[in-house]
Every structure is written in C-alpha cells, then in structure tokens.
Subunit: 249 residues, 2 copies
C-alpha cells in the first residue's frame, strides 16, 4: 500500500462521519509575479502528477466557507476573493489518482468537484505543504507540469472564465503593487488574456472605466520618458466589482 492509500485508509472514518459524500472542492489560485501569471499547485503523496489544491466539504459548513477554509490552510492568507465558476462531474474523474486505494474507501466513490478561482497577492501567500502532500509551489501558467485527474480541464476553464469576467469586472487589486504604470496594467491584461492589446485602445478603455486615479508622480529611471503612476480608486473599483464596469451592458 502506498503512502496515499495508507493515509486515506486512516482517514476513512473521519471522512465518512464529518464530510459530505461525493463532493470535493478544487481551487485555481492565480498570483502575478515578475510579469508572469502563476497558479498554486500541490503534489499529493505518492501521486506522480501535480494537482490543484483542494479538499472536501464538512457537514456543518456551507460550500463557500469550506472553500475559504481550504484556501486559508494552503496559503496562510485570509479573506481571499474566491469565485465559484463551474462544477466538474464527468465519470471516472479520479481514476488516475486513486489507483492503489482500496475499493471500499470513502474517496473511491464518484465525486463531483466544485471549481473556484481566486486572485491573490503573490507576496501574501506562503504555500503550505499539508499532511497529504509532499510539495506546494507556484508554477507559471505557460510552463505547467502535467496535472492529475481532470485538473488540466479545471485550470483551462478557470482561465477562460477569468478572461470572460474581465468584460464586466475589473482586475488588478491584489495582483499589482499599489502604484503602477499604465503599461504595467496593460501587461497584466495581456498576460491574462494571452494576447497583445493595442496601447491606445487599452488606455481609452481603462480611462472610461473610471477605476483609476492618476498620481502626481512618475516612475523614475529607465531609458524612456518617465511614465505616470496610477493607483486604483478603491471606491469605484469595488463598485464595479459589484455592479459591473461602466462599459458593460
């Protein structure tokens, strides 16, 4: 019996007694660092592939709270913005992970997984290796290792949903430093969207959104003309998060 199978056997009664059967949670945690978008991945003991951080739902917790708790345990960060974007319920999702696990264990049943995505401040996060894993690390989304189960699909759909969500809600707080240039903001959008954007159009669109404050400061140093610095106007930014951006329907 491998280490994973052993752990799951030990925990079987706990799971049966205290957790909802058949439902799991998987989190796609995005962070931005040195002009690249990263997600948090964990390596479960005895697994050959990496996977998304996740867990189960305790009988006494609403699913949103269960997801927050899982994320807090993995990142040490509190009050993280979590967006539930899709449930994943194809047949045989878990076949490649639990190969050596006894058939009668709780985890061997069919599970539907609730997918959440999250945008976190890279610097606030301390990836935590829990009892079930050997590793927990940031990985660049352009250079992901092979993922276990259907986690590649879950990641792809999270990224797709994040891209779609950019059409009605702002992004940047938590991902960018407090003060940033328009090109830094554009770079963030380009990296999330996976494509280059026109500089003038981006500037006009962002200005129309009304979520930026232009500062009386410029970024010093560098070869080119020193660019202006901006901060997010948290009042209009949060209003846009709630009610949609200026330009949306």
């Amino acid at each position: 019996m491998n280490k994973l199978a052993e752990l799951l056997k030990q925990r079987d009664k706990l799971y049966r007694d205290e957790y909802l059967a058949g439902i799991s949670i998987d989190c796609v945690v995005f962070g931005y660092h040195e002009k690249s978008l990263k997600i948090l991945l964990a390596k479960i003991k005895s697994a050959t592939k990496w996977g998304l951080p996740g867990g189960f739902v305790r009988n006494d917790l609403p699913i949103q709270q269960a997801a927050s708790q899982i994320l807090e345990e993995r990142t040490g960060a509190k009050n993280i913005y979590l967006h539930q974007f899709k449930a994943f319920g194809d047949l045989n999702r878990s076949d490649d992970l639990y190969v050596d696990v006894a058939e009668d264990l709780w985890v061997k049943k069919r599970f539907v997984s609730l997918g959440y995505y999250s945008l976190v401040n890279y610097k606030d996060v301390n990836p935590v290796v829990d009892e079930m894993s050997d590793k927990c690390e940031w990985k660049d989304i352009d250079d992901l290792p092979p993922l276990m189960m259907d986690h590649e699909q879950i990641f792809e759909e999270a990224l797709l949903q994040l891209r779609r969500d950019l059409n009605y809600k702002p992004v940047g707080v938590n991902l960018l430093p407090e003060k940033f240039t328009m090109s830094e903001l554009q770079k963030l959008y380009e990296i999330i969207l996976g494509k280059e954007l026109n500089r003038g159009n981006f500037y006009r669109k962002m200005t129309r959104y009304g979520i930026l404050n232009k500062l009386d400061e410029i970024r010093k140093g560098g070869a080119h003309k020193s660019p202006n610095l901006y901060t997010f106007n948290l009042e209009t930014y949060n209003k846009a998060l709630e009610n949609g951006l200026q330009e949306s329907w």
Copy 2:
C-alpha cells in the same frame, strides 16, 4: 403522510441504487413571449410553493448529460442550450420542502444543487407535468409566485449571470422569431437587463458585433415608418458564442 412523502418513500430504494447522493440539479429555463421574459416553474405534489424544474444525477451519467435529460423530460425539446452557472450548497436548503418526509429517507440528506440556465424557444416547449408534480407552467419573471427552498436565490443568480454573459456572448437565437426589427432586439435586451437602453448606442454596438444580416425587407403595417428586418448571421453568431463578441477583450 402527504403525497410527496409517500412518493419519496416509494422511490427511496431506486434513488439509493441508481443516483448520486447529495447532488441535485436545478434549471432556470428562460423563454421569451409577447415582450416578456418567462421561466418554467413546477409545483411539486403537496408543496405549497412553486419551484424550478430539477432532478438528480444518475450514477452512470456525466452531470451535463443528466441536466439535459431532466430538461428534455420537462420540455419535450431536444438539444437545448444549457449553461451551468453556479452550485448552491448552503446548510438546510431543503428544510421547507421536505417537512413531512421521514428522516431516514435518501432525499433528507444535505444536497448541493448544480444550477443551470437555459434559453429556449417558447413555442418549442410543452411544459410536462411529471409524476412528482401537479403543475408545470411558464411564469413571467416580473410576476413570480413565492418559490420554495433557495430557488429564488438560484433564479436571481441565473438572471445575474445571464446579464453578465451578455458582455461576451450574443443572445437572441431561440428567443426571437427568425426575422425581427432592431427595436424588437433592443426590447429583448432591455427586458433581460431590466433597464432601458439608448437607441443609437444599441444600434451601433449591435452593428459592431457583426452578428446581424440586414434584409431587403421591411415590417409592414403600423403607424410609423416601416422598420428594416434583420436575421442573425448564424456563422458569426455561433463563432461569437464560442470565442466571445467582437467588442469583448
């Protein structure tokens, strides 16, 4: 024992043997008729309130297929566009429905419900009263009866998601007749969005989307200048459904 409690007792073994425990599906089925947006509601036997059409997931079906099957059984319509938008998993969601149902029955466990929304052609649908219900009818979203469980929340979130989705995907095929005027299309958007839109802006935005074909026909009759008729360009419409609208990021 009321009729509902009796039926659930009869079906208890079937549910245990053939369906996933703890997971249900609820569908918000939107149709458009006589300038009003409607949803399909059912009245479960012995229930005092109306509810969304829904059901459970058979062990041998992926969740998406289970949802399609439930909807087909309720509407008689095939290949309906279904979008899974959120899972609902608060505690005690079902308390007001299963009051008279024995504690040890399968349905009394805690359930997480997967919410789907769907846009259907009002005329293609024949609401089906199934074994569990007394009624199944279209109801105007501006004049909904009180809903059971957390179905009001599920409906509200479906409408919110539909509104958000208008920022990156088109709407209209299935809801409008084949030929329509620009004001009819605008009216549909206004009804979904719950607000009036500027006529000129709407026209410009729609034209930029590139999903309409202007016909060499006009709508005859009526007091005003006869307006042009349009159809959707299904090629660009479907491309926009898949890849996002022209104007989205």
